[in-house]
Symmetry: D2
Subunit: 411 residues, 4 copies
């Protein structure tokens, strides 16, 4: 296992860090002062020219689409520290065109899209001109079990007709969101891995309706937002299907691996930021005659946070290394491992940082509360903790087929 | 220790439970459907006639002001299960005129108010005609250490002049909020327990300005809200001072004891509601061929929740019993004990319930997310966990003055 | 719920506490100096005349057999604080003739024994002249599932013949152990609650062999010990059967309820002792210029221990109150609740106390290590945590038969 | 960071693993059957010819002294997986001559010993002919604070005279133990890092007395044992001092780094073994109609164990890599990080494995109970968790000298 980076990667990492410090954190500071993260009138959210400007700068500096190996020339291992840096601010990922769910959608189109699909949707996504959403989870069934899916895709001549309701479609509130990837049941009688399909649906197609935006602990995660969307007899040509009918499950598997590791890389950055803020607060606030950091068990919290972040980061790097060297299928257990542990570590450190900040930590005067909502949702999104623990356990038990046990039961 | 209730109390408990089931939970259900808890335009929140109607009904049924022993004839021990029931819905406390911070403010006025103050403010509060706020915490200092307080109260002839900035003033956003209790430093040279005073300040007094409302994880806790309020040369007659200058610390001590136990009583109800919702969800949702409740460690969560709620409730009852029998000063450690443990238990059960609900649990389709915000803020409000653990430890160590140790060090 | 004690009970509690302080703790101190708890040659353990002397004194003072309500005139609620006090020292229970497993065995004989059985075994047990063991758990099957039991009881004319191997038969190493209660399968074809029987087996009966004594983390829990015992064609007259063939399950249910609550009562005392020792150590040892108690998070540990002990004790009292008022069957969930939580709380506080004592805490220079072994074994004995959590969850879910849910699923 | 191994290292790792599987685990199995780990008469413990034979075999196979880079040609990073493998069995380390405290003592002699000292003590240690102990911790003071040390070393002409009492001197019970390294105060007036010295003391020197052996939870950790040793006017020539008077602190720093990382490497193996045993048990035992592994939250335990082991191992590897590349001083924080987390992870997995084994897990029929004692003692030995957390926090805060904070306090 070799975690070394190429010189090019080191250069990129340095530049992204510098860009964050010089441009993004100061803008975040303005946002915090404007209380902009929680503009209550969030549907009216419009493009912020400051963000658009930084996107242009990042693109010009070559700090753009770094998530996509064939474009960036960076391995997953090399992208990891970059994604981590973008985790330091909720503003950062989009500025580098590396934000979920667009990254996952771009990867799907890169790998499975037809030339027409690439021209129509991938190109503007890679250019940062449009945004997209992913419509998979449904309100009426336990979506952690994919076989529960109720949305349908019915063939009708050269067309397909979509019906169903999806929710937690992240990014659908973005003013630039133009397209969603819809997953549905296209053949209930096929082999269980061939029943589903994915379809590119323009957000303005007839029959598509964003019913409402969903809050997380009351916040709307602007400018992306999480939407509930109904699809009522949405008619599209078959060319909107990605990679052909029945390929939904296969694409989903491929999509979720990198999506999950990207989230985890960023969450390492979230945890580092929380630790940094916690320390700064603990050193500057005074109570009972001492800086908070020297009261009670606060230094223990710092130590435990440092230990947990170090360990979690190393496991993310190992997972990235495995994906680079033996592929996502060879890293099944590891992807689930980090999906469980990293958001939990981030949640705990954020919660402790909030506690040290007092009421301020719960408000929007620091990025902590919004980051907590992001970390907390990741304990559910792309598979809840429980499902991923199940995967890890299953892979572990598979090492022990009866013949793997030494002769005579081990005592 | 006797936890028996009088027949009158039993009757009251039964009626409050019935009122909750028949009137409040159905209204809550309407609220959830209207997504009303998070009306983004919360400043425009107006009185809801449905709530006002229920308040009238509750008053008519004698289920009113039950928190105040001299009025209700109920001991703290007897009020405990009633407050617990009101914890089942965030709508309930105000409907019974038992919501924070009004209860604490009414108690202060009952005990320390002048006749004029009682007539002007206590009467309409007891009638539920107006609401109030409590202005103690400050943004610029660690308010867990009361000696840090910066707001000032300066005498000027028959007047006093108030200056300072307060935040986390809960209830200040309520459309009926008319008065706040302001705490400030009136004599920095006095004995440390005689430096502070409390003043009744009409919300429309010149120089009082609600600078902004503060979100908790993005939610605004309507219709109460938590405000940041500036006081700039607010001039009031000395008759606005409660119990005389220098009495602030004494009143605060008296105010916070009951306030804390009321919060804890309600949090037991919060935890019970979370458990009930978690079980309902676990029994009705199916994944991988089984009800969620039968998957993995979910039944263990139910068991642990039941155990923790039982224990926490008993400790709250013991604390109430002590306040009734030996007074709040005799229950110093116990009040801090429940202040630490109860919101933490509630937070954990709520978090687990949210996990079982998936994305729905994070949204406003269930009361869980708003209840989590309430429970989480209680780990900070009225003293953070850390301070209360410090009190418990201090009281514990005080049992062991050197002479209390057996001769010859115990090994 | 009324936790008041009668005057008689208060008097008893006071006397037991005094006896502990004046006689037992000083003897324990001698034991610790002699390192007697871990006499490596434990099979040669002989009666300690100092213990025998204290037994006589306790009997003379009327502090004898207090566990048995019909004899002592104390309710379970009143016995709780007495049992707690005996938990302060591992020496104490036997000195008051209140140690497991004899108490459980005496209860069985009191309720189900024939006159002859009572004369032969109950009388000397009540007199403290002999000790006994209980043989239920088996090495070759998961004994947490009673239906796995393999030991057999076969009728042969007026006799029965016993076969099987048992282990974790506590008390079988005591020099005075004369009899065991053996549980086995007497009719595999009967209703599942009528398949088992209990038999009184003299330890010197032909075919009974103590194969070996079992250590717990290396310690042998002298003078009681936990044995592995084989029963090979042990022939006894049918009069040795308790309450008739097929009554084993019924008796076991009745035996385990009080047995479990007695263990939990004592564990509260164990936890209190650990806390007391931890505080004493923390106040007298100095490192880095401060008493240990003032370093890092140590005061938080004290606070958390106090909170957990208070809550756990109250839940034990509630359980005792329920057994007194509605019987053991009405306290099924509560008995399992305390069986889970109390030993876990004790284990955690003991572990923290050990940590504060450093190496000394792991040795036999304090009672902590031996107490840890006792608390740890209780997480398995009389049903592992997992089984008891299962009972609590099952009882909880039973409240929610479909018809118990409000019309329209609660959201 | 590059975790690749050389071909030679890979070969070694494979051979050590094979040796463990073919020779050591089968012998361990014999030990478990003989209940030999807890021979109550442990002082009479004599060399086991089976172990001596395996030592000869290991030496012949070149699997000997692999812990010492200059001898083995292996880096710390390359030794890590070897040490991990030896953690699978408590018998393994000595068989490869890699057991504590001898490894630490050999390193001290290698680096600081005079030629005479090397000839007299290092050579037979490297040959595995003798064993040694390290005498640092004292019973009467908090030894976590080195400045508390009371033992003295007084110059007297060409001699020195030693006085003091030490305990937790591991290995002093081994039949081959011939020498100890004694640390004491040689000049109380010197700079605080120059006050202490280390002396080589033959175990048979006049005035050295092993007062007693100390149990850990009742077990004596044969054949090594932990002793309490008194030194009364022990007169030795000055040539017995290692590296000169006043060098004690410097040597201790150098000794503890590698000692700590070796313990942690082995603890990863301990945790792996516990997980393997837990899975085997969970798959073969049946209760309530299912293998235990499929009951309740047991699979979650497997998943969490796998995740924690992966993370802990990676952090150990990173620490080894740092020691190899920037030296022990550059890995100060990391050494403390693993010293905290690894034994805690091992303790937790062992505790859960014990729980799954039931009573058997607490006995000596599996290696779990003895391994738990080893892991638990490591939370205290070579610095308690609390001290190491303090080091990690201190190093973390040092990153934030005031000038390191961005201009304008970060919010």
């Amino acid at each position: 296992m070799n975690f070394e980076h190429s010189d090019k990667a080191k250069e990129m990492i340095k530049k992204v860090r510098q860009f964050l410090d010089e441009h993004i954190l100061p803008l975040e500071n303005e946002y915090l002062k404007e209380q902009r993260f929680e503009d209550p009138n969030w549907k009216g959210w419009t493009l912020d020219p400051r963000v658009e400007k930084l996107k242009e700068n990042a693109k010009a500096a070559g700090l753009w689409n770094l998530f996509l190996p064939p474009l960036s020339g960076l391995s997953n291992l090399e992208y990891a520290p970059i994604a981590e840096i973008t985790g330091h601010s909720l503003l950062a990922p989009e500025i580098f065109n590396c934000n979920a769910p667009d990254t996952g959608n771009m990867e799907v189109l890169w790998k499975y899209g037809s030339d027409t699909q690439k021209e129509q949707w991938l190109k503007p996504l890679l250019d940062g001109k449009i945004r997209s959403a992913f419509c998979m989870t449904e309100p009426d069934v336990a979506s952690s079990d994919a076989t529960n899916m109720q949305a349908t895709i019915v063939e009708d001549g050269d067309d397909i007709i979509l019906n169903g309701t999806k929710w937690w479609s992240t990014g659908i509130g973005h003013p630039n969101c133009k397209v969603v990837i819809f997953m549905g049941l296209s053949d209930a009688n096929a082999h269980k891995y061939l029943q589903h399909s994915m379809v590119l649906v323009p957000l303005d197609a007839a029959g598509v309706k964003v019913e409402r935006m969903l809050p997380v602990f009351g916040g709307y995660d602007a400018p992306y937002g999480h939407g509930e969307v109904s699809f009522t007899n949405v008619r599209l040509p078959k060319t909107a299907v990605i990679a052909g009918l029945g390929k939904g499950f296969e694409i989903a598997q491929g999509r979720l691996g990198p999506g999950r590791i990207h989230h985890c890389m960023r969450q390492i950055g979230v945890a580092e930021r929380a630790l940094k803020l916690m320390i700064a607060r603990g050193m500057e606030r005074v109570a009972f005659g001492k800086p908070l950091i020297n009261l009670g068990g606060n230094r223990d919290l710092i130590a435990n946070a440092r230990i947990d972040i170090e360990m979690a980061r190393l496991l993310v790097l190992k997972t990235a290394f495995l994906i680079d060297t033996v592929g996502a299928m060879g890293a099944l257990s590891e992807v689930s491992q980090i999906k469980v542990i990293v958001p939990n570590v981030a949640c705990r450190i954020l919660d402790q940082a909030i506690q040290l900040f007092g009421g301020k930590g719960l408000s929007n005067d620091t990025p902590l509360a919004a980051m907590y909502a992001y970390a907390r949702i990741l304990r559910l999104a792309d598979g809840p903790d429980e499902v991923h623990r199940g995967v890890v356990a299953k892979m572990e038990l598979m090492k022990y087929t009866p013949s793997n046990f030494p002769k005579g039961k081990e005592k």
